[in-house]
């Protein structure tokens, strides 16, 4: 059982490492096309990564080991999230289930690492980005936990793979009000967590409006490479999880070569669709003012809470 899970985890990591830069490239391409531009092509993020790895890394005086270790911690936590969440298959390790709280905590380690890197730079922007990022992360967490809790009630367990497996067996539950409300809340939470519009504008140049970007202003060379790849992997994993929950078909329930191929094909399709959808929606969105974001998150929390109460009514009916 564990050997199968190990192979699956490795497959998922390899798939996500190769797919997520393409996903970000494709999202930028969709946005460019909607703006009438030709766009840099989907492979541009790969080229950026290769160039960054070949660049020199600078470390300012007064920064500690955190600036060196932080990026590595972020990329490792993102890889761990990709390995654990049910992207290609629902076979997991017996003793390390991809339980909701474990996955969220591993994500949070990445968040903390980036926040500390921001603080360690010792500049005003690093502190500002880190403070806003942590405030948003703190406000997002109730939404994430309660929405996945709502999904876990019909299944009776909070392990994500079992939730996906249960949704595979009975597709009607995918369209039930519980899952729609919970997934909508989860979508808002994912947007807030990965710093996409309307919460944070990834390609802004005005430092005062930045959240995620402000923290990495000080990193260069391979530190920046790991930070970029780490956040792309998180985006890929969360979008993958979201799309798997929304469209569970195609995921491999037991390990076989054919199953794996089918699953990766399905994963590519699902991530492409969700990514394009997200990029398309972003073109129409403007960045929310920082102190309107709590209202957005409170709204998504209410959605998650309604999902929970809805799951009670549905069970009885």
């Amino acid at each position: 059982m564990n050997a199968e899970a190990a192979v699956l985890a490795l497959a998922q990591v390899v798939a996500m490492v190769s797919l997520s830069p393409l996903l970000v490239g494709m999202m930028r391409q969709v946005r460019a096309r909607l703006e009438g531009r030709a766009g840099a092509g989907a492979l541009q993020p790969w080229r950026d990564l290769r160039k960054l790895l070949a660049k020199e890394t600078l470390q300012a005086a007064g920064t500690s080991w955190v600036s060196v270790a932080g990026p590595t911690v972020l990329i490792v936590s993102s890889l761990l999230v990709c390995a654990m969440t049910p992207l290609l298959g629902t076979v997991t390790f017996t003793s390390v289930p991809d339980d909701l709280f474990v996955v969220v905590s591993v994500l949070l380690i990445g968040t903390v690492a980036v926040a500390l890197v921001g603080l360690d730079a010792g500049t005003a922007f690093g502190g500002m980005g880190s403070s806003r990022h942590m405030t948003i992360a703190a406000l997002v967490e109730p939404t994430v936990l309660v929405s996945v809790y709502a999904l876990s009630i019909p299944v009776g367990s909070s392990v994500l793979s079992q939730i996906v497996a249960a949704r595979l067996d009975d597709p009607a539950s995918v369209a039930s009000p519980v899952s729609l409300l919970a997934l909508l809340a989860l979508a808002v939470a994912v947007v807030a967590e990965t710093g996409r519009l309307p919460v944070d504008n990834p390609n802004t140049h005005l430092e005062l409006t930045m959240v995620h970007e402000a923290m990495v202003l000080e990193s260069s060379g391979r530190d920046l490479a790991w930070l970029e790849l780490g956040s792309w992997l998180r985006l890929g994993a969360l979008l993958g999880l979201l799309s798997t929950l929304l469209m569970p078909w195609g995921i491999a329930t037991e390990l076989s070569a054919g199953g794996l191929l089918l699953a990766s094909g399905a994963l590519v399709a699902k991530i492409a669709i969700t990514g394009a959808l997200l990029a398309g929606v972003e073109v129409f969105l403007a960045k929310l003012r920082l102190f309107r974001i709590p209202e957005l998150l409170a709204g998504s929390f209410v959605l998650a809470f309604l999902a929970v109460t809805a799951s009670y009514l549905v069970v009885q009916a």
């Binding site: 010792g122 806003r132 936990l145 000080e218 391979r222």
Partner: protein, 666 residues
């Protein structure tokens, strides 16, 4: 004379010896000798607790000349668990104090009351009947008050803090006295086993439950009665606040567990709901105050309120689920509560000792004036880092395992058919999630602002860690405990099962934790092995890239090319928490005033801008200040009674006598 009895006797004897040594040893040797003997008191307590957990029992009677009878000590496994926690924390703090105590903290009074405090605290869980429990409780309170008063000569707010602390501790004692009185009257005897036989459904049991839980909540620092905690901890010396926060506050939780599990086991559902509600409010309010305060020790004190709130929430969940008849998740909730106790003791002790070391090294208490201590105090930074990871409940630390267990029991406790539980569980999940999120922000702020970037004051710049040689090992030991509880929680599973008297907590694969009641298991070692395996390729690529392009040191960080890049431009703790204070401003009521002084020449040029922000404890403002004002008014009114005329005074006693006689006659 069984081993347990020997242990109990040894603790008393050692405490007396330590007190004697503290008073008579020459000042130079006093810290070392008294510290070693106090550590021995702690160790004996821990060993006795382990023995009790292993199953052996023993009872000793300590003769007291008081008419109430002798003090009976017969620790149950639950008591044993708390003795281990209290003993271990006491021993580590005593060793730490050898190097840390100087000036008033090394005086005779301080070194004499520390062992007495440790012994009393360790024996409270061993008490076998209500009277000895209250006696030891009061002895613990008095010893800790004298310890809080150590620095009262050179800091005025210490006296104020000690006043609040003493007032609320005595309030707790009075509530306990009343609660136990009601129980003893009902049971007809003081022994806990006797009290255990009362029917929890009766109204007197409910009255006793409310009184006792209120008393224990006051000692534990639950919200309405938590105001002493953020005052007493910054006032007391660091090793004392470490013991108070990590162990003494747990005695409140022990009391609650004692009442809910042993004295009045199968109580009605609203008991659980009461505990759950107060726990939830304390958790959120505590961590909210912690996230916006900038005094390091006050931050840690409020975080204690948060953790104790989580423990009461776990206990409330257990009671609620038991009253609805859901056995599995209820047992895992009790296990979660005990894990929270152990993990909080470990990481809070580490954090307070590290805060003490920061104060000792840099002389700074306020986060806004710290910075860059990581480079100057590596061991303290490591200990505080590990403690902060534990407090923020991040993986492979003790806090993570405890909160994982709590969330498992909450999630699997969902019973749609029961309306009460159906609403309580998601609210509890939301509260735990919000608390975990805010705890994350609080401890990133605490670690980031204090230990990273550049020093914001001369004290922080000149910080050093040498000198007190016993502080570093003590911090590292408790940091190791945080990691140990996080990596191998399976070992604690056995102790938790026996202490809580619950089934369904076992070991899985090596030392992972398994909550079979809810069908959830987690092996942190496997998790960290997976992370390490994934880290190998990353490090390989980094090493390859580093060979070609080595890392280069640069003089200035990128600050938009500005030349005047002074440390004051960095974010401080207050500014770090400012977005949060703005989001939760109706709960925190911050008072902000910005004072702009223009240049004399023109109104449009600004010479100086001053920003002041005051964040008071809203609960205190709303509930305690009016009570204090009312007491003052009553006091003034009472003064009119005393107008100097002897006849009036004699008249009062005469009227009183007559009144009594009339009453007797009726």
């Amino acid at each position: 004379m069984s081993a347990v009895e020997l242990g109990l006797e040894a603790q008393l004897v050692l405490a007396v010896v330590a007190a004697i040594v503290a008073t008579w040893a020459p000042p130079r040797l006093r810290s070392t000798l008294a510290g070693v003997v106090s550590a021995a008191v702690g160790l004996t307590g821990a060993v006795t607790g382990v023995l009790v957990l292993a199953g052996s029992r023993g009872r000793i009677e300590v003769p007291t000349s008081l008419p109430l009878g002798d003090v009976g000590l017969d620790p149950s496994p639950l008591g044993g668990f708390f003795m281990v926690v209290a003993g271990a924390v006491g021993a580590v703090a005593a060793v730490y104090a050898i190097g840390y105590a100087e000036g008033p903290a090394a005086s005779r009074a301080a070194w004499a009351s520390l062992p007495v405090f440790l012994a009393a605290m360790q024996l409270v869980p061993a008490a076998a009947d209500a009277v000895s429990f209250l006696l030891l409780w009061e002895l613990m309170a008095l010893a800790s008050t004298s310890l809080v008063l150590t620095d009262h000569r050179d800091r005025a707010e210490v006296r104020q803090a000690a006043l609040w602390y003493a007032a609320l501790t005595q309030l707790s004692f009075v509530l306990l006295l009343l609660g136990f009185a009601v129980l003893v009257v009902d049971a007809g005897g003081v022994g806990f086993d006797l009290i255990g036989s009362i029917d929890p459904g009766s109204t007197s049991a409910s009255v006793a439950f409310v009184l006792l839980v209120a008393g224990f909540a006051t000692k534990a620092g639950i919200v309405p009665v938590h105001v002493w905690l953020p005052r007493a901890h910054p006032a007391a010396p660091s090793h004392v606040s470490a013991v108070m926060s990590a162990a003494m506050v747990k005695m409140g939780v022990y009391g609650a567990l004692l009442v809910c599990l042993r004295l009045l086991p199968a109580g009605p559902a609203w008991w659980g709901l009461l505990l759950l509600a107060f726990g939830a409010v304390s958790a959120v309010y505590g961590i909210l105050q912690a996230s916006v305060t900038s005094d390091l020790k006050r931050l840690l004190a409020y975080s204690t309120t948060e953790n104790v709130g989580l423990m009461f929430l776990a206990l409330g969940t257990a009671l609620l689920l038991r009253s609805v008849g859901v056995g599995g998740p209820a047992d895992s909730a009790v296990a979660a509560c005990l894990l929270l106790v152990a993990s909080h003791a470990a990481f809070k002790c580490t954090l307070f000792l590290a805060a003490g070391s920061v104060l000792h090294g840099s002389g700074e208490r306020d986060l806004d004036r710290m910075g860059g201590l990581g480079a100057r105090m590596p061991v303290t930074a490591l200990a505080f880092g590990v403690g902060a990871l534990g407090a923020a409940a991040l993986p492979v630390t003790a806090g993570f395992m405890a909160e994982w267990a709590l969330l498992q029991s909450l999630i699997h406790g969902a019973r749609p058919e029961d309306r009460l539980v159906a609403v309580a569980m998601p609210v509890a999940v939301a509260v735990v999630a919000l608390t975990a999120g805010l705890a994350l922000l609080t401890f990133v702020k605490a670690y980031g602002i204090a230990f990273l970037a550049r020093p914001r004051s001369e004290g922080a710049a000149a910080a050093h860690e040498d000198g007190a040689w016993t502080m570093r090992p003590a911090m590292l030991v408790s940091a190791a405990a945080v990691l140990a509880l996080g990596l191998v929680p399976g070992l604690a599973a056995e102790a938790v099962t026996r202490a809580g008297g619950v089934a369904g907590v076992g070991r899985v694969g090596g030392a992972g934790l398994e909550l079979s009641g809810v069908g959830a298991q987690l092996d942190p070692i496997a998790l960290s092995v997976m992370a390490a395996l994934l880290a190998v390729p990353v490090l390989f690529v980094s090493r390859a890239a580093a060979r070609r392009r080595p890392r280069r040191q640069v003089e200035l960080a990128w600050g938009c090319g500005g030349v005047r890049v002074s440390p004051r431009m960095q974010y401080t703790a207050t500014s770090y928490a400012e977005p949060l204070a703005r989001v939760f401003d109706d709960a925190l009521r911050p008072e902000r005033d910005i004072e702009v002084t223009h240049t004399s020449e023109s109104r449009y040029l600004v010479e100086r801008v001053a920003f002041r922000q005051r964040l008071d404890d809203v609960v205190e403002e709303r509930s305690y200040r009016p009570v204090v004002r009312l007491a003052d008014r009553v006091g003034l009114a009472a003064r009119r009674l005393q107008n100097g005329s002897i006849h009036r005074y004699l008249g009062y006693s005469f009227v009183a006598l007559v009144a009594v006689l009339v009453l007797v006659a009726l």
